[in-house]
Symmetry: C2
Subunit: 656 residues, 2 copies
Amino acid sequence: MQSEILPKVDTTLVGDMLLGKWKDIRLHTRKICEQPEMWQIPGLTHHEHRERVFGQLKILAENGSTAYGFPAIAGGNADPGGSLTVFEELILADPSLQIKYGVQWGLFGAAILYLGTESHHAELLPSVVTLETPGSFAMTETGHGSDVANIGTTAIYDETTKEFVIHTPSRHAWKDYIGNAAIHAKAAVVFAQLISKGENHGVHAFYVPIRDNSGNFLPGVGGDDDGVKGGLNGVDNGRLHFTDVRIPRKWLLNRYGNVAEDGTYSSPIESKGRRFFTMLGTLVQGRVSITGGVTNAQKVALTIAIRYAHERTQFPTHDGTEHVLMDYGRHQRRLLPALARTYAQAFAHLELLEQFDEVFSGRNDTDSTRQDLETVAAASKALSTWNALDIIQVCREATGGQGFMAQHRMVGLRADLDVYATFEGDNNVLLQLVAKRLLSDYSKAFASPNFGTLAQYVVEQVGEVAINRGGLRGIAQKFTDFGSTARSIGFVRDEEHQHQLLTDRVHTMIAKLANELRHSGKKDPAEAERLFNRHQNDLIIAAKAHGELIQWEAFTSALNKIQDPQTKKVLTWLRDLFGFTLLEENLSWYMINGRLTSHRAEAITDYIDGRLLGRLKPHASDLVDAFGLTEGLIRSDLAFGAESRRRESLKKEASK
Amino acid sequence: MQSEILPKVDTTLVGDMLLGKWKDIRLHTRKICEQPEMWQIPGLTHHEHRERVFGQLKILAENGSTAYGFPAIAGGNADPGGSLTVFEELILADPSLQIKYGVQWGLFGAAILYLGTESHHAELLPSVVTLETPGSFAMTETGHGSDVANIGTTAIYDETTKEFVIHTPSRHAWKDYIGNAAIHAKAAVVFAQLISKGENHGVHAFYVPIRDNSGNFLPGVGGDDDGVKGGLNGVDNGRLHFTDVRIPRKWLLNRYGNVAEDGTYSSPIESKGRRFFTMLGTLVQGRVSITGGVTNAQKVALTIAIRYAHERTQFPTHDGTEHVLMDYGRHQRRLLPALARTYAQAFAHLELLEQFDEVFSGRNDTDSTRQDLETVAAASKALSTWNALDIIQVCREATGGQGFMAQHRMVGLRADLDVYATFEGDNNVLLQLVAKRLLSDYSKAFASPNFGTLAQYVVEQVGEVAINRGGLRGIAQKFTDFGSTARSIGFVRDEEHQHQLLTDRVHTMIAKLANELRHSGKKDPAEAERLFNRHQNDLIIAAKAHGELIQWEAFTSALNKIQDPQTKKVLTWLRDLFGFTLLEENLSWYMINGRLTSHRAEAITDYIDGRLLGRLKPHASDLVDAFGLTEGLIRSDLAFGAESRRRESLKKEASK
């Protein structure tokens, strides 16, 4: 064994870092998830699965896991970060449980909390927290997925009766894919166009009872069951529609818009558009906590695949020993970058969660901190949900046919998480929001961008990169090439230069896009649309690069808090692997834009295959051990020695 | 409308090309798949699903769909290509039905056909064809996934009783993930180490009865149910083990190895290794037909996503109209390259299927044609199964939350097809086989490669690319750069240059790998292993590039058969999109290796986004119409106007 000369990862230290600020709630929730009654059972019908999950929600309500985020009046702690922490961990029991919890307390309850006012809190929240009132969050309509501003459902104020009349004008405007709606919800927060005195004040939220205690729809309410889905079959998604359903005036959730008895509309926010986005912005917690959830799912899959890779053999080798899968270069290439990416995502998420808590606890709640939070959450949700699908798939394939068995969890996790890529904001739409924010920041810096200011901007942003006056693309490489791989790689091994290359790419892409789009003024909207569509793909790529940069920075900032030099060394390699993989994926951009010579570009891949993978291999087990996932959370024996035990039986047989 | 100036695709012509040589069997099988009793029903338990699929197998046996590949003595037509065609189309009914059909007739039956001799055919095949004897193909063991040569099950010849004794020595050696094994199989073709007179002659196949007519295991046979899987739950996968199970000598499937009564072993193939690979090679049909199957699944998903994208709106636009999804640049980027890739894969598969039929019908059956077939089938299976997972996922996401509903098929198809990436040969292992073949062809050309011959080889292979004597990497670009995108793209629009760039990459990668690996002689096997692992990832990348080249060539060769100039024009754009996407994905390679300047590299992406997508958009509907999939085969109303009908209801409401 070489262990005496290898650095050793302090798995307790790293484990604590990954547990983050809400460690106690996280560990407490994991204890709950370890109980067999909380586990997903593969092969249930969707009817059985729904009832099982509803029973699990009751357990959570009874043991107090559902109150963290709510005010004292509802029996809660007003701890927004803690509330999200519970959601994030529940994925370890069953993603359906996580989402059903999220529907009840993260969407239905949170809408009442953040869009309602004190009387709503007092009257409605207590029975939401206890699950006495299971509810739905009825925003999405069949005909309007991401386009919430233009939903068709109306809420017309009737001055004569002091009521709102909730109405669905067409099949197009049915509420659809609504969690809890098929069976369990007794009430719903319904989003509708608020119309009073003939004027449409835009989308507002209303509290609407929908079923009686026997589970029958109330008069005027109708619906449908979405039936079997690709996953999450423990959640009863369904459709809802309303035919002139009357609710009292007080059930307008009126924090951002109120209607007086006489029908006069008032709002603390003048602009209709800003009001709409402010209301939607209060729901950012879904996007924040989804990242934490899928990161946990990635940890499960990686723990299984990496431990299995240390036990499983494939083909015999020259000396009669059988190498384990982890010895193979390709296998390392499949699993280790996925591990690095998961660490980066985990650290970025922990920062985001604290950022969320700062805003929603009120400690640091400004327009600007909210906007930053929304941008980072959008990027984070998009990147992490796609990462989860890719990484769980890689892990599944790396365990071969065994990994396809439901008992080993990965296929179920992937199926359940599939829809995470399009719910709570379609990933492509979210990345577009991020890109728009980057462009708007950029344009604030340059009221009228032209080539000279652009170049200057890039110089300011990227600091050390010298600029060639001939044009953006001509930005020259500052560093001289050396002959050998070893020497030419040196400059990117350096943290500052990795950072610079990653930052530079985001800034330069945005600067170029701003330049391309600068002709799309308001004069010719058709031309603006054409230009936008021509560059829409690039916008999304730039937003993705921005999200990756945030992850890299969070990983690096976590590294810099580590005191133990050996642990720091190994995690630095892991961070480098993440950074190098990002560079490698975008190598052509770096070459086209003169940031890397072909020599250096080639050295990046050589360095990954020839150095980093080999260095990290001996630590892969420790790095998944640091996730701290017990047998009750993982529940696949592939991660707990099944293969070794089988191999023992083989050896015993052979020695007979 | 611009339709008068646009070229028009002749969808009948293209449809006929895609139906290929076995058009009649293909259409006949589709008629069967259109019957509701053949459809997959989402939400069944795996028990119900298994019984439903078994019933469907009986329908196929009764209507004669199971005999095509078998000889007249078994009631068949000895039409190998026709037999695979049935398998390929059945995915449209239910992938579980496809795989259960494949287990019974493509594996169990085909093993008796190709590894057995005439007496086996006469005695065993008739009841296999009629499903009177449902059977398993028991090759894989828990402890040996891809490493079939080292399986643990033994078949020891007992001269005293003239019997083989089939035995499982350890838990490691249980047959696992075996289709039909959990419930339905009455017999199995079991792969085991044939041992006679104390000598192991390697892996051979044996016909072994395993259950009586009541479904109970016969004495000495045991097993287990694999339970719920990530998909394909209509197939009853299970485990089998054998404790001194005795079978008569005649049930050795003895085409490639026989044991005389006295225990003397003989074989028409001297080398144990070659014998093993020859036996396995007879099973290539699984890999061939899987590509045809998954291509059909891609066609279903693309038909749904592309038709939906022509009806579904997202956000309102400047003039109050709502654009459909297909108008968005990013949406085109997601769907159109997937469409191009599917066409390329479809044409490549049709060539492969004919190649298979040539060999297995005996019309062109030589060592060399078999080896070529096996190499191309391995590459094709790996590329197509990964493509299918990616493309179905893209289509699912492109239909948003609706696409996650089981009724729209895509989530079910993806879940079922997941295991296609690791069964019938793990994709990574298959690509390694392809790379080894490429390396061995290369080394035949150069008994002792050194730098000079390498360079010469590359010159010969790539013809027009000038070589710089300074080294491989220095190969210079022959073409002069022009200033504008339009002009610099010209040279790759040209078919010959696309071909050259794609071919050159494969050859150069292989030449470089041969050079890297040339020191791994037999002198130092440990060093050889180290070198292999260091370059394993690159080997797999090179094999993938080879597979893509084959697809590009097949697409091009199909194009060149089209007489209709308008159809040819549109399909040429589609082929160009496929070729350009391949170049774009590997742009850094082309730049590092001096094949493309940064100017040209950038022009490739510009050309895709700025020209090809826009040109192809108006034809996307026709290109999926050419797949010819009816409502009974697709069964998602998203592909049949559901969204338009909903929008009509909206307009009616608005006009009130």
